[in-house]
């Protein structure tokens, strides 16, 4: 017996993303239904504890790998003719990526929004702004359920301007509130997802800078389009040799992550993580690892991490460094890559254009 569209919706809105993608083949109306914002909103309210999945981005390669507990999928050539794919993080299951091209003796950066589950893609038109000096990008939305995704573009050769692109208007609009005056010497995004409760973060200075007293963190709040600034945790920088430091989102809080070599024992690297709460920066983890361990990403909301040894497999480890899981199909090799965690969702982009495997 037929249940009728309303009762069908009640059941379908409880299905996980993989099942919904398969059931798009059931009939035409379902294929259209699963892309509607209304169905997404209903589905989103039901998905309280979804398992996270991962995307692997490679340095200097144009393809990505999707990693979930039962599946390993390589997507070849996510963007044709691109040299490299860079990620600016994810929001509500959608990634903001840039594809770098070499064309007509110039480098081009094509920004895209991409949903790894639906494979839908939205290509962002270039900004009409003339300032092209090494911009910083941030990605987010003003609401955890929103499908009006936004990108903020900040010019690092400081002229006090920034613009915001939103999916609903498909246009770049200069921000009303300019960023605070900061000398930005670090002109790349964090390796991690740095969107925390609608606020995107960048570190703007480098440990190599003369007089480094701590990380200077610039942030943009997508809820009210305002910039802000804060300082990272204070610790005795002289005792360590920095490999890198970054900001990250861990369990809905802002975290500062430092990967350092201890000056008195160079065979050991330490992964140090501080999390920001009401009382300030609290040191949460101090994980000691052997120096040729390749760190590849954080997992399970920062309570575990990915990594391995050269010519071994990718593994996930707990805070003591014990191996939890091995991914034998993913070797740790000379091609550097980074594993990004995200919440799979069916959030629609409204373009009905796709990039398939």
């Amino acid at each position: 017996m037929s249940l009728g569209i309303d009762l069908e919706n009640e059941i379908l809105a409880w299905l996980p993303p993989k099942s919904l993608m398969r059931f798009r083949c059931v009939q035409k109306s379902w294929n259209l239904l699963f892309e509607t914002p209304n169905f997404y909103k209903k589905w989103r309210m039901n998905m309280s504890d979804c398992r996270s999945d991962h995307v692997i981005f490679y340095e200097k390669e144009p393809y990505v790998t999707l990693l979930s507990s039962d599946n390993l999928i390589h997507i070849r050539s996510l963007y044709y003719q691109a040299i490299e794919i860079k990620s600016y993080g994810s929001c509500n299951g959608v990634f903001c990526l840039s594809a770098l091209f070499w064309f007509n003796s110039s480098w081009f950066d094509q920004l895209i929004m991409w949903n790894p589950v639906t494979r839908e893609v939205h290509r962002i038109p270039p900004t009409p702004c003339l300032n092209s000096g090494s911009p910083l990008y941030g990605f987010g939305a003003d609401d955890p359920n929103s499908t009006d995704f936004k990108i903020v573009r900040l010019h690092t050769t400081y002229d006090g301007t920034a613009e915001v692109y939103s999916l609903s208007t498909k246009s770049w609009i200069p921000t009303q509130n300019p960023p605070p005056f900061t000398i930005i010497t670090r002109r790349h995004n964090s390796k991690f997802n740095t969107l925390v409760n609608g606020v995107y973060h960048w570190i703007t200075n480098d440990p190599d800078d003369y007089n480094y007293n701590g990380a200077n963190i610039l942030c943009f709040d997508f809820r009210n389009n305002q910039f802000g600034q804060l300082i990272g945790p204070a610790f005795s920088y002289e005792d360590y040799s920095f490999l890198w430091d970054d900001v990250a989102e861990i369990e809905s809080s802002l975290a500062y992550v430092a990967y350092v070599l201890q000056c008195n024992s160079p065979e050991r690297v330490s992964l140090k993580i501080w999390v920001l709460d009401q009382s300030g920066w609290n040191k949460e983890y101090n994980i000691n690892l052997v120096s040729h361990f390749h760190l590849c990403g954080l997992w399970k909301n920062g309570t575990q991490f990915f990594g391995g040894y050269l010519e071994g497999s990718l593994t996930s480890r707990d805070r003591q460094g014990n191996t939890i899981c091995r991914f034998d199909q993913i070797p740790v090799g000379f091609t550097k890559y980074w594993v990004h965690e995200y919440m799979p969702s069916i959030a629609p982009l409204g373009t009905r254009q796709y990039i398939y495997d």
Binding site: L3, L12, S19, R22, C25, V26, Q27, R119
Partner: protein
């Protein structure tokens, strides 16, 4: 309408008559959770037997069992798992439709989730049969869609 003192309704039972003529008793506080029943009580009074034309003697006792547990606040994940354990997919569907007819929100939501859990790993053909829907794609359209979404078919057993 003046609020009735809870003590006067808590021990009252309501008689429900199924579409196939059987009569079951339910406590008034449990009947309140089924909005259709409550509406009928409001219209017809609580002394007469309430007719439920679209619910039958196979399903109603199960629904009454659920709400009996609900009014004592004892519904747990274990109880819910036990409740549907011996039901096949079609039996759950009938119960789901009955809960919809009775406007029994809590049971309806639980059964929606349970049906979704049962369908999660099923094939496209099984789902079509289950919902009673026709495939309106052409063979070319369908095979193109399947190829594009090939990853979502991995590990799923297709029906014969």
């Amino acid at each position: 309408m003046a609020q009735e003192a809870s003590s006067s309704t808590s021990s009252k039972t309501i008689s429900l008559k199924t579409g196939d003529g059987e009569i079951f008793e339910i406590e008034a506080s449990a009947a309140k959770q089924m909005k259709t029943v409550q509406r009928l009580i409001d219209d017809l009074g609580d002394d007469i037997t309430i007719p439920l034309h679209n619910v039958f003697s196979k399903e109603l006792p199960k629904i009454i069992e659920y709400y009996k547990k609900d009014i004592t606040g004892e519904i747990t994940k274990d109880f819910e798992a036990e409740f549907v354990k011996d039901l096949n997919d079609d039996e759950v569907k009938v119960l789901f439709l009955a809960a919809n007819y009775l406007d029994a929100n809590k049971l309806f939501e639980f059964l929606s989730q349970n049906i979704a859990d049962r369908l999660e790993s099923k094939s496209v053909e099984y789902v079509r049969k289950y919902f009673g829907v026709e495939n309106d794609f052409t063979p070319e359209e369908e095979s193109k869609l399947r190829e594009e979404r090939a990853w979502s078919f991995r590990g799923i057993k297709e029906d014969e």
